[in-house]
Structure formats: structure tokens, C-alpha cells
Symmetry: C2
Subunit: 256 residues, 2 copies
């Protein structure tokens, strides 16, 4: 039985303002909670069905500050999902700095004004799959601790560092270091013929507006995914997360 | 001012049963409605803001059976979206048959138990981008005329034929014709080294369960997207629509 104050507290974390103040957010689902435990993150509060709690190892239980038994009705009250999972946990924001010099040591991703939480979550998941370590989001991107982003990222948030920063500064430093800034546009060099470098930035833009006009001058290589349908018919773009997956795959396949 | 009976009728098309009975469904958004008109499909009913109706050409208006002026509150009542677009239209199901012989003349896609409407919509959009003409869905896939599928497909539904059929029969015919059935799995040949044929079937499975056990024996070539993160950490799969985009891209790039 979770107290009313704890229920209210977990529920309040659906608000970005509260997340920012407390530097805590909510993860949901048996698998996700176990992955967080496996990764060594301390869980502040776990509300879960008895069978989930019983399935935890002693050392896993020891990494949780506060364990609360919850029934389905209580889980419904604290969950952001229509059909809640067996476990809901409160976890701290990860602690890592944003150092452009470190970020630029590997191929990284920059997102300009990506607004849909599902898109950001699936981009994080695809980036993790293809071995990317850092994603730098413009300040007007959707917040990474939004429950829908966490849900769509399927635990990949554990493997990627997500930064929020002014993208122009990142690009300026990349250019100073002589590193390429690849911009995903509808026109440019085909990603199939591109010979990508090992380091640099892949820039992806907003779902409907593409890359902001003021960021275009930083792009050193415009790239596009060729379209195989006739130009008179068919979609005029790919969804940003699908485009991301195809581009990440193209960069990764050259590394084999 | 739309009559109450018309409002109720449009709203009723959010139910699959009503769509199946009437063979009608709803599309939303200025761009989508214009694309439907451009493609020559007759629109049964259009409810839209005056400025949208004014923007239509005489020949476009002539292709609409019933035009109704609507204010924002009326659009809210008939829309499936929280923030309705300027135009909502009722259109007929497309009329095309399901002939496996015709479908197998090109590379086609088979979807097994894809349940999320956003995934089906984005798979349709990616398939159209990469020049695929037919998608065969198992009977337990989400219905293509679900408003969320239509929204996510972004008009690509005009360029792809979507069929619902028992997949085993499609695969049996493919095997009889000596055509490959490519199954997207977590293990198999890397799609990067694969030499795909021009014809055949690409089979993709359910979001969490993958391809059904009873369909596995039909697969002639198991394919997988290599993972570039360490196996101890990182996501254990890609979202099905992201996997679809990467695989379609790999098949398409060999055709250049």
C-alpha cells in the first residue's frame, strides 16, 4: 500500500518542472527497471507488484532506497500508461557533463527541434544500436525524461549520453577541429555513395520543418536518402526517426 | 454548419466495424486531402474551414460529393486528433484485388502481427519511399484504415497496396516460384553482406514477439541488422519500423 503522499509525488514527476527541480524521473516496466538495476543505478523508489519484488535478487533490493508493494489500481494511479506495467520506479537524472571536446572524439548526433517524444525515443534506441555515444539536442527539442521518450527508447537511455545545448557552438568547434557536419536534407549527396569519416556530427532536423535556416551554414556535407518512388507520387519525406536509422546504419556499415 | 447526423456519421467511422460495413474511412489534414484529390480519388464528404474550401480548384470541388463548412469546434467533434486540422474527409476504401501472382512480380513485404498503428503507418511510408508496391499483412495486424495508421503513413497509403491475407499461402506460392522469403530476425546473415534478389518477400514480425513460430519454416534466408553496441548493454532490438526502414534501404541501394 503506497501512501497518498508518495502516490502524489510519483504522479507529480509527469511534469517537466518537477523533474527539473528534483532531478528525478520515472521509468516503467519490469524489464526497464531490471536493466537500470543491472547498470548500477540506485533506485530511489520502487512501486511494484509482489511477484516483481519477489523476483529481485538480494543485491538488487539493496540498491533500492524504498520498496513499496502495489496493486494494479495503485499502479494505474501512478503510471503514465493506460495499461500499467508491474513495476514503476523513480530514478535520478544521470550525472555526466557536456564537454564538446569529449563528444567530438567520436561520431555524434545533433538534433534540431525534434518535438515528438516517440521520435526522440526511437532515435535514441537506433543510435545505441549503431554504436553512437552522444546525442546533442537543441534546447527546443522534447525533454528526454518525458515518459513517452523513456518508453520509446526501451532502455537505450542507459547507453547514450543526451545533452541539451546550443548547437551552433558544437558545430563551430567541429569546424575548428576540421570535423565534418553532415546535414540530413532532401537534397545533397546520396548516403549510399558517401564516404563518411570516423568522427564528426550528423545533424537531423524537425519533423516537418527540417533543419533550421540558421544552422544550414554550419553543414559541411549535405546528405540525403535517395527516394525510389516516382517523384509525382509517394511520400515527400521519411519520418525523422526512420531517416535517422537509415543514416546511422549507413555510417555503421562502413566501419565493419 | 454540419448537421448532427453527418457529425455522428463521421465520428462513427472511428470504429472499425462501421468502416468495414460502409467501406469508408476518414483522412485528416489539408495536405492529405489535397493529395487524395490529386490522385483522382472521389471524396464522399469534406468538412473544412472556409479558407481550405476556397483554396480548392473548381475541378477539385467537382470531385467531392458533399462539401460542408466547419468551424474549429465542429472539426474538434469529428476529428480523431486533439488538435484538428483544417480539413476532414470521408473517402472510400481503395478497390484492388489481392492476387499473390501479381504481388510476387516485385519485391514485396509481409507483416506478421504488427499491432501498433504508428508502426504500420511508418512502415507504409518507408516502403513507399523505397519503391515497394505491396504489403501483405497477417489478419491479426492492426487495420490500415485506423486513423493513427493513416496519420503516420502521411499519404503513402495512396502509393502502396495493403492486403490482409494468410501469410502461409503467400510464402507457399513464393517457394513454388523459387522466390526467396527473407525473414528479419536477431540472428542470420548480415543485411550488409546479403546479395538480395529483385523479387521475393521481406517478412517482418511483431513488435515484441518477432516472427511467429509457425512462419519460421517458410523463411529461406534469415537476415539481421548487425548491432554496433556491446552485447552486455544497449537495446536488444530495433523498433520494427526502424528495422523495416534499414532493410528496405539495403534492398533498394543494390538497385542503383
Amino acid at each position: 500500500m503506497i501512501s497518498i503522499s508518495k502516490t502524489k509525488f510519483i504522479h507529480s514527476l509527469q511534469k517537466k518542472r518537477v523533474r527539473d527541480e528534483t532531478r528525478l524521473y520515472v521509468i516503467e516496466g519490469d524489464k526497464l527497471v531490471k536493466e537500470f538495476l543491472k547498470s548500477g543505478i540506485r533506485i530511489r523508489l520502487l512501486a511494484a507488484k509482489p511477484e516483481f519484488i519477489d523476483s529481485l535478487l538480494p543485491e538488487e533490493k539493496a540498491a533500492i532506497d524504498n520498496i513499496e508493494l502495489a496493486g494494479i489500481d495503485e499502479l494505474k494511479r501512478i503510471s503514465s500508461l493506460k495499461t500499467p506495467h508491474n513495476a514503476v520506479a523513480v530514478v535520478p537524472f544521470p550525472e555526466y557533463g557536456t564537454d564538446f571536446d569529449v563528444i567530438l572524439e567520436n561520431l555524434c548526433v545533433a538534433l534540431d527541434f525534434v518535438q515528438d517524444p516517440g521520435n526522440l525515443g526511437t532515435i535514441i534506441r537506433a543510435a545505441a544500436w549503431f554504436g553512437i555515444k552522444d546525442i546533442v539536442c537543441s534546447q527546443n527539442c522534447v525533454e528526454v525524461y518525458n515518459p513517452k521518450v523513456i518508453q520509446a527508447s526501451m532502455g537505450a537511455i542507459l547507453n547514450i549520453r543526451i545533452h541539451y545545448a546550443e548547437l551552433g557552438s558544437l558545430f563551430s568547434l567541429a569546424l575548428k577541429r576540421n570535423l565534418p557536419v553532415y546535414g540530413a536534407l532532401l537534397e545533397g549527396e546520396s548516403i549510399y555513395s558517401l564516404e563518411p569519416e570516423d568522427r564528426g556530427v550528423i545533424l537531423l532536423g524537425n519533423e516537418s520543418k527540417g533543419i533550421s535556416g540558421d544552422l544550414i551554414p554550419f553543414i559541411t556535407k549535405k546528405v540525403m536518402i535517395p527516394r525510389f518512388s516516382s517523384p509525382e507520387s509517394g511520400p515527400d519525406s521519411l519520418n525523422v526517426s526512420m531517416a535517422a536509422a537509415v543514416i546511422f546504419s549507413e555510417f555503421a556499415r562502413r566501419r565493419i
